[in-house]
Symmetry: C4
Subunit: 234 residues, 4 copies
């Protein structure tokens, strides 16, 4: 009986989180009518109200209250409602940073979401390799930026003003996004791009590959239930 009520409550909380994210996005729309703004404010107040009740219940029914309050999930729950009350007191509604904190509510989903848990496990499994190859990727991006800077700086002093400007090129190129706002025009720069792409595509795709295979491993671990970080879960 109680289990069913708890399940319904959890679904409500999840729905409110998603609703909260959508209303956050709606608020950024230009030229909103005062009526819509008023409705969003009321919806926000109701959402915070429900989150507050949830938080108080969780504190009340926690086996170790202090430990829950200072656990990651407890702090996230608090951060998800605190800005609202602070803004009420000092009317900081216009402070952007405060509004952004509302987005911490995404993290509340972590409690219910299987994928997030699997993700944490995957990162735990492949920690060392991710760091290793992120390092190699960073060096490669740097090297590509220096190279293209020397080839293109004279031809396009605006686009390739410094190695830092060139980094933007190497990021958009090696991830194959290729917006087309900066691209080499000299013969040397184009040949350099060719070789960088030939080598780089292989390297940039490695962290992607590591994450994918670690997630696969995390799934197998879930099935056999030998979970090295289960203890840290609330």
């Amino acid at each position: 009986m109680a289990a069913r009520w708890i399940h319904a409550g959890e679904l409500l909380i999840q729905a409110l989180i998603l609703f909260s994210l959508v209303s956050f996005a709606i608020e950024t729309l230009p030229d909103l009518s005062p009526r819509v703004l008023r409705a969003l404010e009321i919806a926000e107040a109701v959402t915070v109200g429900v989150f507050t009740i949830e938080y108080l219940l969780r504190v009340a029914f926690a086996r170790d209250r202090l430990r829950f309050i200072f656990s990651p999930m407890g702090l996230i729950d608090l951060l998800a409602i605190l800005p609202f009350y602070v803004a009420l007191g000092v009317d900081l509604r216009s402070v952007r940073a405060l509004r952004l904190i509302r987005l911490v509510r995404i993290l509340k989903l972590a409690r219910y979401n299987k994928a997030v848990r699997r993700f944490r496990r995957a990162i735990f499994v492949a920690k060392e390799e991710i760091v290793l190859f992120l390092g190699v990727t960073a060096l490669l991006l740097y090297f590509a930026a220096v190279g293209i800077y020397y080839f293109e700086h004279d031809a396009q002093p605006e686009q390739f003003a410094s190695v830092f400007h060139s980094l933007w090129w190497s990021v958009t190129t090696l991830t194959t996004v290729g917006y087309g706002d900066v691209y080499p025009v000299t013969v040397g720069g184009r040949i350099f791009t060719f070789f960088v792409l030939l080598i780089g595509l292989g390297i940039v795709s490695i962290p992607t590959g590591i994450v994918s295979s670690a997630l696969l491993q995390a799934r197998e671990m879930e099935e056999t239930e030998k979970d090295p970080i289960a203890k840290t879960d609330a």
Copy 2:
């Protein structure tokens, strides 16, 4: 003997489906001469005629007629011909939606096409994971859109007018399509893009990876013939 005739008939139906798709595309060409339009109309009438005969034969020879008529494939067969007769009666030729229904004929291919069957099986196998990671992908796209909105809104109020406008950027960037119609220009926005790409490429590629591996599994299942959804096939 009969088997050979049935096989020839099936090939004819498949060819007519493909022909029907091509003629649908030709109709959208601007500045078609009246003669071409007339030819397309006649071809459409012939196609619908053959599909009608096929439908009636399928109904006539079905073991359980009512069950066939209300099965998915039966309804698709009906929808593939119905709009033509409706349009004859009330001359709604100009109604776009009605013309679009003709495209339901693509689904008729499902009866003959091995790949479509394998695909359904793959989705059945990986259902839970696809939903899980589509959710994570959606959250990531949302998060990237909010972030770039805060970095770029002031510099490009047109392109990044709201979080919804920014979502278009996050979709084209994280899939590495990169049309180049919207891209960050501020230093903060570019650094944010760099980190989003580093993390995001790994995550966005996961559903792709899941589909691929599920298809592989589906192939193995075909070979050992333990098919969990074979019963729903006509």
Copy 3:
């Protein structure tokens, strides 16, 4: 002793093929000086001379001369030199198609190149699946083109003039090339693009995955030497 000479001859032929490809590219450069053109002509004559000697030797030393002449490699060898002699006789130097035939020399590399042989084997292994998923990919591209046509035709009648014009968009988008010459501008078209990309990336990457895994399999077959198409090699 003879083996060493043959090996040296093979290396010479391979070098000449590569040189021939490069000189073909150089000929297309605008504003070439008459001296360079003259040099390229002489080089071409020498190349054809060596290829002719090679061809005659191969015919002379073939166990079954007729069979060699009409084998794929024999015909390629002939096509690689024939246009030169034909052009001498009738002075059709300006005929483009004839010049393009020179590129058939790429195929001469197949005799020496391990990768080409492995590739043929991989295609042999995965034939059925490649056809299956190329079909699904084609249907997906068609479906995406029809959808974007209905969303964008009114807003951009030039770019999305017909379903065929829209196909160009669906090809560049689903392969994530994204040149940026055509892209959706309506809200409906952008949401449609989002869903097409989510589903499409998984499907478009499948033929790529099949080719990769088939090549892996081909390598294993090479190692255990059970080669189903070895007999067709010269």
Copy 4:
């Protein structure tokens, strides 16, 4: 005790290498104030000082001094400091090439970096295949360039001026970067692009796949400690 000091020294060297790379990039920024330039010069002098001490210590404590000096790591250590002293003597500060040599310091990281070692092992494992498929990739890029040249040269004589110009298109297209500076506009060119992408994506992704799988193999080799190139490490 000594081990701890050595470890601290190694961390210092690594930090200095990274700092050196960053300061190299800062120097390329336009409009630097004289004070910043002065600070960078001093930092460079300190960095070279530490590297010189490190080099002398390594020579002093090497078991075989001559062998260390002429080993790859020994030469890299020397090249990382030499340009500074040369520039002091002859004041060639403005010579670009000399400044670029400073980047050789990236390679000094190879001594400490596990990823670099794994990378070398992976290349050792897959050497033959990498060469094989880089060759195929090169031929494919060439073939695509020739094709698009014949389709687009007349319509866009500027963009597709020669096969070499077209190569730039085939590189940016087959890697799916797609800047959008060159793209086909003729119907023939677009259909050709479609087929090239369909075949090409599979082939271009192969070297990437080989590198990924070789890295995986290299990791397993690390674990079982049968290292074929360990002897060449300093």
